[in-house]
């Protein structure tokens, strides 16, 4: 509940936003009521935006279906749990010894990961069978020292989409970051 109060406290009370547009010295400070025409235009905009979002979804799904069909799709996500011992700068990803992603994080992206987001680092197609994933993490580790660690995993790609998570966690006992690669079943 404390979280909710924190969110709500950002909002502050509401409705004091009027600079006496009427010129009436006895006008209350209550805001203006939109006219029927204004509402109609606003609703027209909302409808357009709704359809634009739907269109974007359809286009994105179409491109995904064309380029990365389920039978060959492999998606690799990156997430950070806590992130006290590593300030992430970049991640390099190799699949079967071939570099497929090399990502440098902005402060905003790193913050989004720390807040609980998972980045879809890679979306691509691979053949069915055995594959080796190697991830190299770079950043600033404990005591602000440069930090570089690699982690690898073998995954078996079947006929359904394969999802893999690269996860950075904190190992409190050793005061070190820890790297896991988790093979999520897409099916």
């Amino acid at each position: 509940m404390s979280a909710v109060i924190a969110f709500m406290s950002l909002l502050g009370p509401f409705g004091r936003a009027v600079a006496d547009p009427s010129g009436d010295p006895q006008a209350a400070v209550v805001g203006v009521t939109p006219s029927a025409e204004r509402r109609a235009l606003d609703e027209g905009l909302q409808q357009l935006k709704k359809e634009a979002v739907d269109l974007h979804v359809a286009l994105s799904q179409l491109r995904e279906d064309m380029l990365f069909p389920a039978s060959s799709q492999l998606a690799v996500f990156l997430s950070i749990d806590v992130g006290e011992f590593l300030a992430l700068d970049s991640v390099e990803l190799k699949i079967d010894n071939k570099e497929v992603a090399n990502y440098l994080y902005s402060a905003r992206e790193a913050a989004a990961l720390l807040k609980g987001g998972s980045q879809r680092l890679y979306l691509g197609s691979v053949k069915s069978g055995d594959h080796e994933l190697l991830a190299v993490f770079k950043g600033r580790g404990p005591h602000s020292r440069d930090y570089r660690r690699a982690a690898s995993v073998h995954v078996i790609k079947g006929v359904v989409p394969k999802y893999v998570e690269l996860k950075i966690t904190d190992r409190k006992i050793r005061a070190q970051p820890e790297f896991e690669i988790r093979d999520w079943e897409g099916e």
């Binding site: 969110f7 006008a27 357009l48 905003r108």
Partner: protein, 550 residues
């Protein structure tokens, strides 16, 4: 005065609210332990779906459109299977953040019907009530506010504040006053509530009660420009209310309290002059009214002062000065009318009007003001500035700006469509090539006729499947492409309609100013004619000119 949060900031908070509601819902549903404190905006529970995490990743970077699209795409393909309820909450917040109030409102209503604690439900009601209030759906907002029960103090203050605003907007002054009398809110909001209470009482005919609140507010000590503006307004409201009640002597101190450097000074000077004029002390009235003639004539009070001054001279039987000041006011009115006509001309031409709007759209968030500031003496600047700054114009301009943003997005998708068409063409070429190669291989190999027939049949089936898949893709792409063009067409129509609505708004405001000006001009001409008439017949007028400015 202005909103303490920008629309974008507000929208971000709405998403944060959804996240907060999410944590509440989860806590109510599943977590008996108290939640550990965490930073605002962080997620206090495990993200169970990678794709949901991806939505949050976009959301936390402020990519609301992308986050919502991904959320809908992933939900639609069953990739947020573990936490669909969470996804719905985030979705509602994103609809809000993107300005889809109706969609968000409908979703929040649905969420409220789900099992939630009463306190969570009240929060959702309050939030939804805010949305409806903003959108002008006062009845819906009022219903939700009245449904709230056992509300904690911090929410109760806002609930009452919103409810009283709705009552004031609908002219239910007595009910608003009753509600506001006992209002206890955050310190920085008390003056606004007191002002509204004072005004509600005045409007309800309770002058003495309204006076006590406005008098207190009018004596407020503060360095804050917003509060000083409110203080001026309280004094002005009370001063004019007392004038209307024929209590000119009581009104005087309130006009005197208004700052001469503030935006309400001209109206205060006008009121101060009227106090003296009501007491027939025209010599005293001339002091504030002459001061008024030195001020910017964009203010209606200054135009009114331009006819009040010669009228006072006339009452003092100083007809030479009266005639001189009427002549001056006529010159002033003619110049102002020319400027208004030029501004009307600027507004009337859609292309020229759109130039102003587009310059504002392209320059950034608060840059609507830029083209007007660049040419402060241009007629459109002088008159359009206050019109553009008005809340109703700003509502329309927000829509216009969003339409431009949407057009940019839709236009950008053209590249994706073309790219997809090329992918499909490449796939078809690759398939044809493979078919040709397989055919050549089959032609060249030796084997039993049955095996060859089977191989050819299997190949043909595979090719048919591949072609069918490609045809399906092509169909979907054609549909998406057609919808994009259709949306662009409708968007263009809506943008024109919005430009027209803004033109009408600006034109109506300019026409109103022109009409006021004409009224003053007629009054001045008539009274000047009376003076000249009497001068020509060489006898003093039997009485003062009949017409008064107001």
């Amino acid at each position: 005065m202005r909103e303490r949060r920008s629309p974008a900031g507000m929208a971000r908070c709405l998403v944060m609210f959804a996240l907060g509601l999410w944590s509440m819902a989860t806590a109510v549903a599943a977590t008996p332990e108290p939640m550990a404190p965490h930073q605002p905006g962080t997620i206090p529970m495990t993200v169970q779906d990678l794709h949901f995490g991806d939505v949050l990743y976009e959301l936390f970077q402020g990519h609301d459109f992308e986050a919502l699209s991904r959320d809908l795409q992933y939900s639609g393909t069953g990739r947020i299977a573990s936490q669909p309820a969470d996804a719905r909450l985030i979705e509602a917040g994103l609809w809000l953040a993107l300005g889809f109030h109706d969609e968000a409102g409908a979703r929040l209503e649905t969420i409220m019907r789900a099992p939630l604690s009463e306190s969570s439900r009240n929060r959702a009601r309050l939030y939804l009530a805010r949305i409806w209030y903003h959108r002008g759906y006062d009845q819906e907002s009022e219903r939700l506010l009245r449904e709230m029960t056992a509300v904690p103090a911090e929410d109760e203050a806002e609930r009452v504040h919103l409810l009283s605003n709705i009552l004031l907007r609908s002219g239910r002054y007595a009910a608003a006053a009753e509600l506001l009398r006992g209002w206890q809110g955050p310190d920085d909001w008390v003056p606004y509530a007191r002002f509204n209470l004072g005004v509600a009482l005045l409007r309800d005919g309770q002058l003495a009660a309204g006076r006590s609140f406005l008098d207190e507010l009018g004596a407020l000590k503060s360095d804050d420009p917003e509060r000083l503006g409110l203080k001026d307004r309280a004094n002005l409201a009370l001063g004019f209310a007392l004038l209307e009640a024929d209590r000119a002597a009581d009104a005087k101190p309130f006009f005197d309290r208004v700052r001469l450097a503030g935006p309400y000074a001209s109206r205060a000077l006008l009121g101060a002059g009227w106090v003296d004029a009501k007491r027939r002390d025209y010599r005293a009235a001339l002091t504030p009214w002459l001061a008024l003639t030195e001020r910017s004539s964009i203010d209606t009070a200054v135009l009114e002062g331009a006819v009040a001054v010669p009228r006072a001279f006339h009452q003092l039987h100083a007809d030479a000065q009266a005639a001189e000041y009427y002549e001056r006011s006529l010159t002033l009115f003619a110049a102002e009318r020319d400027r208004i006509d030029q501004a009307i001309g600027r507004v009337a031409e859609p292309a020229r009007f759109r130039t102003i709007l587009d310059a504002s759209v392209n320059d950034g968030s608060d840059a609507w003001i830029a083209p007007l500031v660049a040419e402060p003496d241009a007629p459109e600047s002088r008159y359009l500035f206050p019109i553009f700054a008005g809340a109703d114009f700003q509502q329309g301009f927000r829509v216009y700006r969003e339409l431009c943003f949407l057009e940019t997005i839709l236009t950008g998708w053209q590249d994706d469509v073309v790219d997809s068409e090329q992918i499909l063409a490449t796939r078809r070429e690759a398939l044809d090539e493979r078919v040709r190669r397989v055919g050549a291989v089959l032609d060249s190999v030796s084997g039993s006729p049955a095996e060859l027939v089977e191989a050819r049949t299997a190949t043909e089936r595979a090719v048919q499947d591949a072609r069918a898949t490609d045809a399906a893709f092509a169909g979907r792409l054609a549909q998406v492409s057609g919808q994009r063009l259709e949306l662009l067409k409708r968007l263009s129509e809506l943008r024109l309609a919005e430009v027209h609505a803004l033109q009408v708004l600006a034109r109506a405001a300019l026409d109103a100013q022109r009409s006021r000006l004409t009224e003053y001009e007629l009054h001045a001409r008539y009274n000047l004619a009376v003076i000249y008439d009497h001068a020509a017949t060489d006898k003093a007028p039997a009485k003062a000119p009949a017409k008064e400015p107001r």
